[in-house]
């Protein structure tokens, strides 16, 4: 049987990371979240911090990349600049494709659902949670005040949707962009994992 892929999009604090990790343990397949940055750095020889700086962000807003262009309207060097967000995205997406060729795996974020859109066995999931639950999770994880956590959540949501919409041409968090959208607050993490697992087993014909 061919490799299969599960791509997880998630809101910050929705438990997407944990759900992906548990799911990969139960299905016994590889799991990639931030690990992708390290691999992309090794593959390209470029420092990891460049990938971290560009991770799930984009420059594309008015004046955002003002400078990318300053010198001339014919600046073709721009396309050859390997530290641009677009170039780093390209390197990272090559890594995602290579990993997906080699084995079954779970990818969290990084537009993997778009990058692997031609893969024959893909399941794309989006995970949300109640705002209050997300807030509590971030407060606990980052050890910050409620005010600060709220700010971080709002900013990250905005960045991730900007990133996803720009690179994938789809809409972040919109049901038509995925196969399954689920709110982890209703069943809790473990039950949500079980639910997704049974959904995956049926839709990907794992058993």
């Amino acid at each position: 049987m061919e490799n299969y892929i599960i791509n997880i999009g998630r809101q910050l604090g929705s438990g997407g990371h944990t759900i992906g990790e548990k799911l990969s343990g139960q299905l016994n397949i590889a799991y990639y979240d931030k690990e992708l940055l390290q691999i992309a750095s090794q593959e390209s020889g470029l420092g990891k911090e460049f990938f971290e700086r560009a991770d799930e962000k984009t420059n594309i807003h008015l004046f955002g990349d003002f400078v990318g262009w300053f010198s001339s309207s014919m600046n073709q060097g721009y396309f050859n600049n390997y530290l641009r967000n677009e170039s780093l995205f390209q390197i990272q997406s090559d890594v995602i494709r290579q990993l997906a060729d080699r084995q079954s795996c779970i990818f969290v974020g990084r537009c993997a659902d778009y990058i692997l859109r031609d893969h024959p066995r893909c399941l794309n999931i989006f995970i949300t949670a109640r705002f209050e639950d997300r807030l509590q999770r971030i407060i606990k994880k980052e050890k910050i005040s409620s005010e600060k956590a709220k700010e971080v959540i709002e900013r990250t949501d905005k960045q991730r949707s900007g990133y996803y919409n720009y690179y994938s041409n789809k809409v972040w968090g919109m049901s038509t962009s995925y196969h399954l959208c689920i709110n982890s607050s209703l069943l809790g993490i473990d039950e949500t994992v079980a639910y997704i697992r049974s959904f995956a087993e049926k839709s990907l014909k794992l058993t």
Binding site: G77, N81, L83
Partner: protein, 457 residues
């Protein structure tokens, strides 16, 4: 478009720096030189075939031409960036949509710009510094250019798309073809048919039209992954939005340079008369040639510096920066030497008129005064851009072209008359060289500190 290309070419981190620089910079230098020869040939034929006043009229149209180019690059550049992203993902449907959308947008913007500019052509030209003597030339030239503006916009847009769709050589040839056709048609129209300055404008439009046809035939090829077909022309909001967002920066940069040229022209006309503007037309063409060559070098340096900086190969970063600065300085020294030694010979390439020649000689001498240092400034600015420190890059670039130049152009002519206009440019050059030196010095202290830190770790 057939060949699979890996995201990072091999060798950027290992190959000899001089060899890499030659490999990346030479094609870019050829393309840039060709583009500036285009403008030079126009000026030469107009200067000799039509006269000194026509050269002044031509110089009056520069800002309007800049503005037209700014609108042309608005979508073309943004579309090109989006296109290269989609092609990297082998997302050919989206890529095709971008192609169609860019074509449509260029059509809309090109036609709108022409209509508005044609309606207010004379007031615009007067505002840009036209006089009774120069207006007819500027008017005739611009009318034809504006009627062909859609062609120019589509040609520029297609060229940007060609380049980003993996055909940089074809895009370079397209530029060279327009130069050659323009070179052949200019004498025919001006001397053969006696069309005057209109002949030159017609040659420009026709050369771009011919090359546009060739570009379209390339995008019509069924073997290409991206090509014209039904259904790609309907505007899609996300494509349009991205194209404008990315294209806004080159647009503003071009628009800003339009304002500068207006200031220069108005200053020259006020204190030096029509011929001073014509002299600037000549000086500008000559100066631009050397600036463009260095820009080509910078394009070649960018991927090398960027990659090696990213890979933390500091000694290679130093090497490429050093070599680029040396080459850029040599290029500028060649320009400086030729211009300062033989300014009359240079000016006489463009005109036989004695007074215009004299004024151009003065202008050439002033403008090239600090050019041997300007190469350094340009390389440093691009260097900051390539290592992802865009704010510093734009700041250095702005100091030379805008921040110091605008106040100088407003203040100095009050006291020094026409000399004040000329001398503003080398002064702005010099200040920006100092700014660039300081920023580079600070950056290198930072590099050393980081290096020291990583050694301890």
């Amino acid at each position: 478009m057939k060949r699979e290309k890996s995201s990072i070419p091999l060798g950027l981190g290992t190959e000899n720096i001089g060899k890499l620089l030659a490999q990346y910079a030479i094609p870019a230098i050829i393309a840039m030189t060709a583009a500036s020869l285009y403008n030079i040939t126009d000026s030469i034929f107009i200067g000799h075939g039509v006269g000194a006043m026509a050269l002044s009229g031509l110089a009056i149209t520069f800002p309007l031409m800049n503005l037209a180019a700014a609108f042309g690059s608005l979508v073309g550049m943004g579309g090109a960036a989006s296109l290269s992203l989609r092609l990297g993902q082998k997302d050919y449907d989206s890529a095709n949509n971008i192609l169609g959308n860019v074509l449509m947008l260029n059509l809309i913007i090109g036609v709108s710009f022409s209509i508005i500019a044609l309606l207010f052509l004379d007031p615009i030209l007067y505002f840009f510094g036209a006089s009774r003597q120069t207006l007819p030339y500027a008017h005739d030239f611009m009318t034809i250019i504006l009627l062909g503006n859609v062609i120019t916009h589509m040609y520029m847009g297609m060229n940007a798309l060609l380049r980003s769709s993996g055909h940089p050589q074809k895009s370079m040839f397209a530029t060279i073809f327009t130069v050659l056709i323009n070179l052949a048609l200019n004498p025919l129209f001006i001397f053969g048919f006696g069309w005057g300055i209109r002949g030159s404008a017609t040659a420009t439009v026709i050369s771009q039209f011919v090359v546009l046809m060739w570009q379209i035939s390339l995008f019509n090829n069924k073997n290409n992954f991206i090509r014209f077909k039904k259904g790609i022309y309907r505007l899609k909001s996300n494509i349009v939005k991205d194209a404008f967002a990315i294209g806004m920066s080159p647009f503003l940069m071009n628009a800003a340079s339009c304002i500068i040229v207006v200031l220069i022209n108005r200053g020259l006309i006020r204190y030096g008369g029509d011929l001073a503007v014509g002299a600037y037309g000549i000086v500008n063409r000559v100066a631009f040639l050397f600036i463009m060559i260095v820009m080509g070098l910078n394009q070649g340096m960018q991927p090398i510096a960027g990659y090696n900086y990213g890979a933390k190969l500091q000694s290679r970063v130093n090497d490429v920066l050093k070599k680029s600065i040396i080459i850029a300085t040599l290029i500028m020294i060649v320009g400086f030497t030729i211009v300062e030694l033989f300014p009359r010979a240079i000016a006489s390439i463009f005109t036989k008129d004695n007074e215009l020649t004299e004024q151009a000689v003065i202008g050439l001498r002033y403008i090239f005064m600090f050019y041997p240092l300007v190469g350094f400034q340009m390389v440093v600015s691009t260097f900051f851009q390539s290592i992802g420190m865009a704010k510093k890059a734009i700041f250095i670039s702005l100091t030379r072209q805008i921040l110091f130049l605008i106040p100088l152009l407003i203040i100095l002519p009050e006291y020094l008359s026409v000399t004040g206009v000329w001398i503003s440019m080398p002064i702005a050059d010099f200040i920006s060289v100092i700014v660039a030196s300081c920023l580079l010095y600070v950056q290198y202290r930072q590099f050393k500190k980081n290096h020291f830190k990583s050694e301890i770790e």
